[in-house]
C-alpha cells in the first residue's frame, strides 16, 4: 500500500504517471475525498472517465478494487451479504443427528461461517489489512430503494446484519460512486459525498489523453482526431461522443493505417464515434466533410 497524496499537485502528478490526465478540479475533488475520507460522487456523460478514475486510484495507491455494478432490483443479498442456505440446511441435519440444543444451533446457524460476503461487506471487512477502493458504478441504474441501503455504508462505513450484529471497517475504504444521470440520485446519498461533475475535456487535455492512451499514434492524426471530436461536440447530437469514443476511434484509425483524416475513412468509421442512427445519418450528408474542412483550415492557420 502506498501513502495517500499530500497535495493537489501530488494527486495530479501521480494520476498522470498512471496515464490518467486529470484537470485541476477533478484532482482537487480526489484529493479531498482521500484526505477527508469521504465518498466521492462523480456525475457526468458516459465515457468521460468516471469509472477509470477508480481503477487508476486502486493502481496508484496499490489497493484492491472492489466493484459493484448497479442494476434495477439490486438488493442486499446481491450487494452486501447473503446467508449460505445450503450449508445452513446441512448444519441443521447434522445437529438433528447429534441432538444439539436449540439455542446453540440458532447461534451457530447465523455465525460468520455461514455468511457470504458481497461487494459492500467485502469492502468494509474489519479483517482486511489494506482498505480497498470501492467502486459503486452507475448508481442511477439501480432503483431508489437501493440508495437507502447505501446510506449506512456511506456515512459510517458499517453494515448492520440483524441476525449477527454490526460490521464496521477498521479503516474506511476509498469510495467512488458514479452516475450517468439517467435519473436524479436522492439528496440523502449526495449529502454524504463530495460531488464532482465530470465534463468533456478541452482540446489540450483530450490531445494529451489520446497520446497517452493510444501509444504510437502520429501527432498529426491525434490532433485532427481531437479537433474533429471537439467540433462534433458543438453540434446538437442526440448522444455526444465521450473520451472513450475518441480513444476507440483513434485506435480504429490506427488499425486502418490512416495517417491523416479524410472523408472516406471518416464515413467508414463513424459507427465507432456515434451510436445513434439519427446522428450518423446526419453526419453522412456532407456534414462530416465540412467539419473536416474546418479542422484542416484551423490546423493550417496554427501551423
Amino acid at each position: 500500500m502506498t501513502q495517500i497524496p499530500t497535495s493537489i499537485d501530488d494527486v495530479q502528478a501521480r494520476l498522470l504517471a498512471y496515464d490518467y490526465v486529470a484537470d485541476r478540479q477533478l484532482a482537487t475533488a480526489v484529493f479531498l475525498a482521500l484526505r477527508l475520507q469521504r465518498p466521492l460522487f462523480l456525475e457526468g456523460e458516459p465515457g468521460t472517465g468516471k469509472t477509470e478514475i477508480a481503477r487508476t486510484l486502486s493502481q496508484m495507491l496499490d489497493r484492491p478494487l472492489i466493484r459493484l455494478q448497479c442494476y434495477e432490483g439490486l438488493d442486499l443479498s446481491g450487494a452486501a451479504y447473503e446467508w449460505n442456505y445450503g450449508r445452513q440446511m446441512i448444519e441443521i441435519r447434522l445437529a438433528e443427528g447429534a441432538g444439539a440444543d436449540r439455542q446453540a444451533l440458532a447461534d451457530q446457524l447465523f455465525s460468520e461461517k455461514f455468511l457470504i460476503q458481497r461487494a459492500l461487506l467485502q469492502a468494509i471487512d474489519p479483517k482486511r489489512e489494506v482498505p480497498p477502493v470501492l467502486l459503486i458504478d452507475e448508481l442511477d441504474r439501480a432503483d431508489e430503494p437501493f440508495e437507502a441501503f447505501l446510506l449506512e455504508v456511506l456515512s459510517e462505513f458499517q453494515i448492520t446484519i440483524p441476525e449477527f450484529g454490526t460490521v464496521k471497517a477498521k479503516t474506511p475504504p476509498i469510495v467512488i460512486l458514479t452516475s450517468n444521470r439517467t435519473r436524479e440520485i436522492h439528496d440523502a446519498v449526495k449529502r454524504r459525498c463530495l460531488y464532482h461533475w465530470v465534463g468533456f475535456p478541452d482540446a489540450a487535455r483530450e490531445f494529451a489523453i489520446v497520446l497517452r492512451r493510444v501509444p504510437g499514434i502520429p501527432q498529426q492524426l491525434a490532433q485532427q482526431v481531437v479537433a474533429f471530436v471537439q467540433k462534433l461536440r458543438e453540434i446538437e447530437l442526440y448522444k455526444l461522443p465521450g473520451i472513450a469514443e475518441t480513444i476507440e476511434w483513434a485506435r480504429a484509425l490506427m488499425e486502418l493505417d490512416a495517417l491523416v483524416l479524410d472523408p472516406a475513412v471518416i464515413q467508414d468509421t463513424l459507427g465507432v464515434l456515434l451510436k445513434y442512427q439519427d446522428d450518423i445519418a446526419r453526419m453522412q450528408g456532407g456534414e462530416a466533410a465540412r467539419i473536416l474542412e474546418d479542422v484542416r483550415n484551423a490546423s493550417r492557420t496554427v501551423a
Binding site: 493537489i8 479531498l32 434495477e72 441443521i92 444521470r181 446538437e236 442526440y238
Partner: protein, 400 residues
C-alpha cells in the same frame, strides 16, 4: 496553507456568509456542508483562487444545474467579500420570485370557501354529504351528470370549481407493474430461505416451516406533456389538476408544459393543495395561452429530458390539439422517438369532442401512427374514461 488563526476566523465567517448567499439564491446548503468546506480548506490550503473555487464547489455543489449560479456567486462574492450587502441585493429578485411563488393563503379560493362559506340560495350542493343523499338523490344525480358532460372550455366559474373538486375525489387506479423486489407472502411462490432458516433455527431444526415471498408491484410512472397554447389553455389547466391528483396518489408523476417553449413543472406541481400547485405553474410559465410549436418542444423534450425523466415503464400523457403548421415530417420523427422511449403513449385531444371529428390536419395525421391511444379530454366523463385506460393491465395496442 492557512497562515494564522485570525485569518482563519475571518475566512470561516466569510465561507458561512457565502453559504448563506447561495442558500438565499435557492441552493440547499446545510451547516454540515459549511463545516465540510472548512475542513476541506484546512486540508487543501489556499494556494490559488482556482483551487479555492474547486474546493468549495466540491463541497457545496450537488447537482450540475447549480454550477452556473455557484460560479457567478463565487466570482462576485470573493472578489470582495465586503460586497455581501450588494451581493444579496443583486440576488434579491430571485428571492422575491420565490416569495411570490409561495402559497398566498388569502388568494386560495378553496381555503376561502372552507373558512367563509356563503351558501347561495337555490344552489344544489354538488357533493352532498352521505346522509342528504336520500332527500334529493335525483337532483344531485342529474346535476352530477350535467357536470360530467360539461365542456371545460364553456364552464361557468361555479361549475369549474365543482369540477375541480370532483376531480380531486376521483377514484384513481393505477396499472400495477411488477418490480424486481419482493415482499413476504402467505402463499407458496418464491422460497424465502432467510426467513425459513430463522424459523427452523427457532424450532431447533425440528419443524420444516417453509416461508415465501412474492414480487412487489408499483404504480406505473406517468409523464404529462401539456400544451398550454391559446386554444388548449382551459383544458390543460384542468389536466394539470388531474395530474396533480394523480401525483398525490401513489403514482410518480413528471410534468412538463409547452407553448412556444418547454418548461418542466414537476416541482411546482408537488404542492399539496391543488389550487396552489396549478397557480404556481401558471405563474412560472410565461407563454400561457400564447402560440404553440409542438415539433420544437417535442424535440427539446426528447433531446434534453426524455432520458432523465422517463424510462421504458413510463406512460406518457400528451395533451395537445396537434395543430402544427411547421415541419410535419419532423413532427412525425419526434413522435416516433417519444413513442419508442416509453411504455404507452396516450394522446388526449379535446378536438375529439366534436362528434364528426376526422383527423385531416397534416400535423394530426403525422402524430397519429405513433400513438397507443387517442382519447378525448374535454369533460369529466372523458377523464374518468382515461382513468380506466390508465388502470388497465392490457398490452399496448398501437392504432393505425
Amino acid at each position: 496553507m492557512l497562515a494564522t488563526r485570525p485569518t482563519r476566523g475571518h475566512l470561516a465567517e466569510n465561507v458561512m456568509h457565502f453559504a448563506r448567499v447561495l442558500r438565499s439564491a435557492g441552493m440547499a446548503i446545510g451547516t454540515d456542508r459549511v463545516l465540510l468546506s472548512l475542513q476541506a480548506l484546512r486540508e487543501a490550503g489556499l494556494a490559488s483562487k482556482s483551487d479555492f473555487h474547486a474546493v468549495l464547489s466540491t463541497c457545496m455543489l450537488d447537482r450540475i444545474e447549480h454550477r452556473d449560479l455557484f460560479d457567478r456567486a463565487f466570482e462576485l462574492f470573493w472578489r470582495d467579500p465586503d460586497l455581501i450587502g450588494r451581493m444579496r441585493a443583486m440576488l434579491l429578485p430571485k428571492i422575491r420570485a420565490q416569495d411570490a411563488m409561495a402559497p398566498q393563503q388569502h388568494e386560495n379560493r378553496r381555503l376561502a370557501d372552507a373558512l367563509f362559506p356563503t351558501p347561495k340560495v337555490g344552489e344544489t350542493p354538488l357533493e352532498p354529504p352521505q346522509d342528504e343523499l336520500e332527500f334529493d338523490a335525483s337532483l344531485t344525480f342529474s346535476a352530477r351528470e350535467i357536470l360530467r358532460k360539461a365542456d371545460f372550455d364553456t364552464m361557468s366559474a361555479d361549475e369549474w370549481r365543482a369540477a375541480r373538486r370532483a376531480l380531486a375525489q376521483m377514484q384513481l387506479m393505477f396499472e400495477p407493474l411488477p418490480t424486481r423486489r419482493s415482499a413476504r407472502a402467505t402463499h407458496p411462490g418464491r422460497a424465502d430461505w432467510r426467513a425459513t432458516m430463522q424459523a427452523m433455527a427457532r424450532h431447533g431444526g425440528q419443524l420444516w416451516d417453509m416461508r415465501w415471498r412474492r414480487p412487489r408491484t408499483r404504480a406505473a410512472p406517468l409523464l404529462v406533456l401539456a400544451d398550454i397554447s391559446g386554444s388548449m389553455s382551459r383544458y390543460s389547466r384542468m389536466l394539470l389538476h388531474f395530474a396533480h391528483a394523480l401525483g398525490q396518489a401513489e403514482a410518480r408523476v413528471e410534468s412538463f408544459v409547452f407553448g412556444t417553449r418547454l418548461t418542466r413543472t414537476t416541482r411546482l406541481l408537488k404542492s399539496r393543495d391543488p389550487d396552489v400547485a396549478v397557480a404556481q405553474v401558471v405563474r412560472a410559465v410565461e407563454d400561457w395561452s400564447g402560440g404553440t410549436r409542438i415539433t420544437t418542444c417535442l424535440h427539446e423534450f426528447n433531446q434534453r429530458w426524455a432520458r432523465r425523466t422517463m424510462d421504458s415503464t413510463t406512460t406518457v400523457l400528451l395533451i395537445t390539439d396537434g395543430l402544427e403548421h411547421g415541419d410535419v415530417a419532423a413532427l412525425g420523427l419526434e413522435m416516433e422517438r417519444l413513442a419508442k422511449s416509453c411504455r404507452r403513449l396516450i394522446w388526449l385531444n379535446p378536438l375529439l369532442r366534436f362528434e364528426k371529428f376526422e383527423p385531416k390536419a397534416a400535423g394530426i395525421r403525422a402524430m397519429l401512427p405513433h400513438v397507443d391511444r387517442f382519447l378525448p379530454a374535454h369533460n369529466l366523463e372523458s377523464l374518468e374514461q382515461l382513468v380506466q385506460v390508465l388502470s388497465r393491465r392490457d398490452a399496448p395496442d398501437r392504432i393505425h
